[in-house]
Assembly symmetry: C2
Homo-oligomer: 235 residues x 2
């Protein structure tokens, strides 16, 4: 019986296929099974980014994760996916799991890592995160010198966001989506809206950069990150 | 007379040459002039990482930056380097400036960007930062779900570090060097030392990972980042 295969969590970067690392390209080409998150329509941004590196010989394994605020269906989906991946690994096949950005930076890979990381040999190939991609797109540093940077997930309570804006020199707000109006309100209350920009789909063909105050009321920017800076009149 | 050349700030990643992106490789190969920070002995980590991509035909431009706590000599060095780079750009040559990690994440590139970015066309190629490389090396996520991540430069005052540890789920402390004992004291006072690790030279041959409490008194780990986590018994 053959030894178990290795599970590799691979960061494929923020969207531009050229932002794949050489290591990610090699790891994808060498994998027996290439897995990736996908939606119910079979679409997968992670697969799109890495498409050129996926060999025809590799077995592909889309992991369908329900997108809803209730956590239970997603956890069941990860249980199922972990089971399938475990069977491949046990049979000696190497499995690459493609992750937008970096596998260990707010990615869904940790749900698989939590289920498989202690049983199977697991490697991580770090990738370019959306944060520095957004800063590059915006044309201004994410953080410099001894500035204090905070990464705030938008679903956090309004009071937490408000409290944490104090003391931050540079602010990245992720997972904005339906929390946009709350986030904008908090940034306005803190006087940081003038120096804030929202970056959608960084490095992709449909990349869009908008000053925070220019987003119409009622709009909910998707695939977006807000960067804001203290002590700054504008960007 | 030819048009001015483009300045490209290129993130070459944390150390492993395989963590260069395809875009970085192409930008380096296409550049007329390849510039990089170097020390007085002529050593350059950024150049070492990208060595395989630098063509013999390219003109190389080491930028010697004095390493001292006094800022004036370094600023003079950047003035001189910006002048030299400006001459190349004005003569129509493209200039690639190699940056460890990402050009817009606590890098020295911003000193050149501040001097040249408004006059010359400037592009940024984002790179893998040391933060996610450290998390990959450590084998645990940098941040997940709705965790609040703070990046704290170690030179910040002890009271600031102490105050900012509150409210953080995940903590990355950068630029540790001679501030190590202060940082360890602050983490111990906050009860976060048990779940903290120091990662030196992440992804390089001399990578070393040590539990914070295992570093002998008096030692000052170089090229290091500390990752710490709240609500965790150990890593």
């Amino acid at each position: 019986m053959s030894a178990s295969g290795t599970l590799t969590g691979i960061g494929v970067g923020p969207g531009d296929p050229e932002l794949l690392t050489l290591k990610a390209c090699r790891a994808i080409r060498e994998a027996d099974v290439v897995a990736y998150p996908a939606n119910a329509a079979g679409e997968s941004l992670a697969r799109d980014i890495a498409a050129a590196e996926i060999l025809h010989a590799a077995l592909e394994l889309p992991v369908l994760v329900p997108m809803c605020t209730d956590r239970a269906p997603a956890q069941t989906a990860y249980d199922d996916a972990a089971g399938t991946i475990a069977r491949h690994l046990s049979q000696g096949r190497s499995v690459a799991f493609l992750c937008e950005g970096d596998p260990f930076f707010y990615g869904s890979f940790m749900y698989l890592f939590a289920r498989l990381g202690e049983t199977y040999e697991t490697r991580i190939v770090p990738g370019v995160t959306s944060l520095t991609a957004c800063a590059a797109a915006l044309g201004r540093p994410l953080a410099a010198r001894n500035e204090l940077l905070k990464v705030l997930p938008a679903p956090l309570p309004e009071e937490t966001l408000k409290a944490e804006l104090r003391g931050a020199d540079c602010i990245a707000i992720i997972k904005v989506g339906r929390h946009f109006e709350k986030v904008r309100r908090v940034l306005r209350d803190a006087g940081l809206n003038g120096a804030a920009a929202i970056i959608e789909s960084a490095t992709r063909d449909n990349q869009r950069i908008t000053a925070l105050d220019d987003i119409p009321d009622g709009e909910q920017p998707y695939f977006s990150t807000i960067l804001a800076y203290r002590g700054d009149e504008g960007w």
